[in-house]
């Protein structure tokens, strides 16, 4: 990070319950978090609400948590908040936006003809996906996570990684198929 204050200093301030920690966190990660939120919830006010909730959650969760990677920690909070908001708003009807397209794409990873294992621990699934991703190149990891975590558009993703859009699409297509096979191999059927 090139900002003046280091992440561990921010975390330390939060641990000491210093409000300056929030100020510094906002200063450093406002844009980063708002980009993530705005990709998922189109409405400006909703995005703002997600971001404000992110600071609050970070404040409430540090301590006891001591994130080793503050950027990733905040990204997870804001992304999951925005996702919940999106789900609430679009429970009945999906639009052709980035979220619904991403969800549609992820259906490639689902298994046919089996019941969803409700008792399956969410953590097991996350661990399996993380293990599978760790076996991929850094580039493949970046493509997959930028698409399905950061919800980046294909065009944006291709430009950011200096690739053709079709290359990105085919990487994602192959990865989704591989993930499905991997998860089934791990006994995880979705």
């Amino acid at each position: 990070m090139q900002n003046g204050i280091q992440d561990d200093e921010i975390v330390q301030l939060l641990w000491e319950r210093e409000e300056e920690g929030i100020v510094q966190m906002q200063k450093k990660y406002q844009r980063y978090c708002s980009t993530i939120a705005r990709r998922i919830v189109a409405n400006e006010e909703d995005a703002e609400e997600c971001i404000n909730d992110t600071w609050l959650r970070a404040w409430n969760s540090i301590p006891p948590h001591q994130p080793e990677n503050l950027a990733g920690y905040l990204a997870k909070i804001v992304r999951n908040l925005a996702l919940s908001m999106y789900t609430k708003q679009h429970r009945k009807k999906r639009r052709g936006d980035i979220m619904s397209v991403a969800l549609e794409e992820l259906s490639d990873c689902l298994s046919d003809g089996r019941e969803v294992s409700e008792e399956m621990e969410k953590k097991d699934l996350t661990d399996a996906i993380a293990a599978w991703l760790r076996g991929k190149s850094r580039e493949q990891q970046a493509v997959f996570i930028r698409r399905y975590f950061y919800m980046m558009e294909i065009r944006e993703l291709a430009e950011g990684l200096c690739m053709k859009e079709n290359t990105v699409k085919s990487i994602l297509f192959r990865m989704r198929k591989e993930l499905k096979i991997y998860l089934e191999g791990e006994g995880i059927y979705l």
Partner: protein
């Protein structure tokens, strides 16, 4: 049934992806084409390029086992033959031979010491290249009329350097202003004709001293590089990446704005000034070995109608 649970399955997956490890998430956001190149270099090395001074992979070691035995046998036979020749033709001849042989060995030793040692695909004696300071000049940063005005408007970084300090003594070239590391300057926009004949608002930057031997690799993260001019010859590039030799003038398109999110804010001091990032240009030096070494970023920002630029070292 399938439709009912399809939604659930997708959402479960999306939720699970949302809980991936934080380091993985942050690294994915920070991944750049430079890391991609480094990764590819590493892969090439793994696939077979053995670099001097490095141990060979196990598989290859085994492959060379028999060749080593044969070589050793041949060497032993050659030594035996030499001893026999020496014995037959007298000590003088043997001495002459061994003297010559030792000279050759010595020369080889010296040669080996003088030869650049290669490690990890890079030349260790490329420290000269590493020590090279990159100088960047902005074309038409300030013309005569606007000079005083621009000086006042120059925005400094969080350091205590004043804008007057940032502008003096750096008019290294006529009509160009040197952009010192960490100091934000106002850039001027010029309209140029693209290859297609359309008018494109560009920022012109000059990389390195004219006549220098370095080659810079540039990657414009957001908008395209319209052209590169070297030695008075302009070539149209119109791509996001381009090479330019020292003294090369590069035109960057300013029509597109950044939509990507940077986990690391490249110019935190701009946040409070309300300057939006328009583009980030990654700069690396292409070394003789072909390896690229990232040396910094040039960040272009915009506020209202004004464009700003700052060079940040890696």
């Amino acid at each position: 049934m399938r439709k009912d649970r399809e939604k659930t399955g997708e959402e479960i997956l999306l939720d699970a992806i949302g809980n991936l490890p934080e380091d993985m998430i942050a690294k994915a956001a920070e991944y750049s084409v430079f890391q991609k190149e480094a990764e590819e270099q590493g892969k090439r090395k793994e696939e077979g390029d053995i670099v001097f001074g490095e141990e060979e992979p196990e598989g290859r070691k085994a492959g060379h086992k028999y060749r080593k035995i044969v070589c050793r046998g041949l060497a032993a036979a050659a030594c035996l033959a030499l001893v026999m020749i020496a014995g037959n033709k007298g000590g003088e001849l043997f001495r002459q031979y061994t003297d010559r042989h030792s000279i050759v060995s010595e020369k080889k030793e010296v040669g080996h010491q003088n030869a650049p040692r290669v490690s990890g695909g890079s030349l260790e004696n490329s420290s000269k290249e590493k020590e090279q300071e990159l100088k960047i000049w902005a074309e038409a940063v300030e013309d005569g009329k606007d000079k005083s005005k621009t000086k006042k408007e120059s925005i400094n970084n969080s350091s205590s350097q004043t804008s007057e300090e940032s502008t003096d003594d750096n008019t290294a070239k006529e009509g160009k202003k040197e952009l010192k590391e960490g100091v934000t300057k106002i850039l001027q926009i010029e309209e140029v004709d693209s290859k297609e004949g359309e008018k494109v608002p560009v920022i012109k930057l000059t990389f390195g001293d004219e006549g220098g031997k370095l080659t810079y690799s540039l990657y414009s993260q957001v908008s395209k590089i319209i052209s590169v001019t070297e030695g008075g010859v302009t070539k149209y590039v119109n791509l996001q990446d381009a090479d330019c030799k020292s003294g090369g003038i590069v035109e960057f398109d300013t029509r597109r704005f950044a939509e990507v999110s940077w986990a690391a804010i490249p110019v935190p001091e701009w946040e409070t000034k309300g300057i939006e990032i328009q583009n980030i240009i990654n700069i690396s030096i292409r070394q003789e070995s072909g390896r690229e070494q990232e040396i910094g970023k040039f960040v272009i920002g915009v506020k209202g109608e004004k464009y700003y630029g700052v060079f940040k070292k890696s």
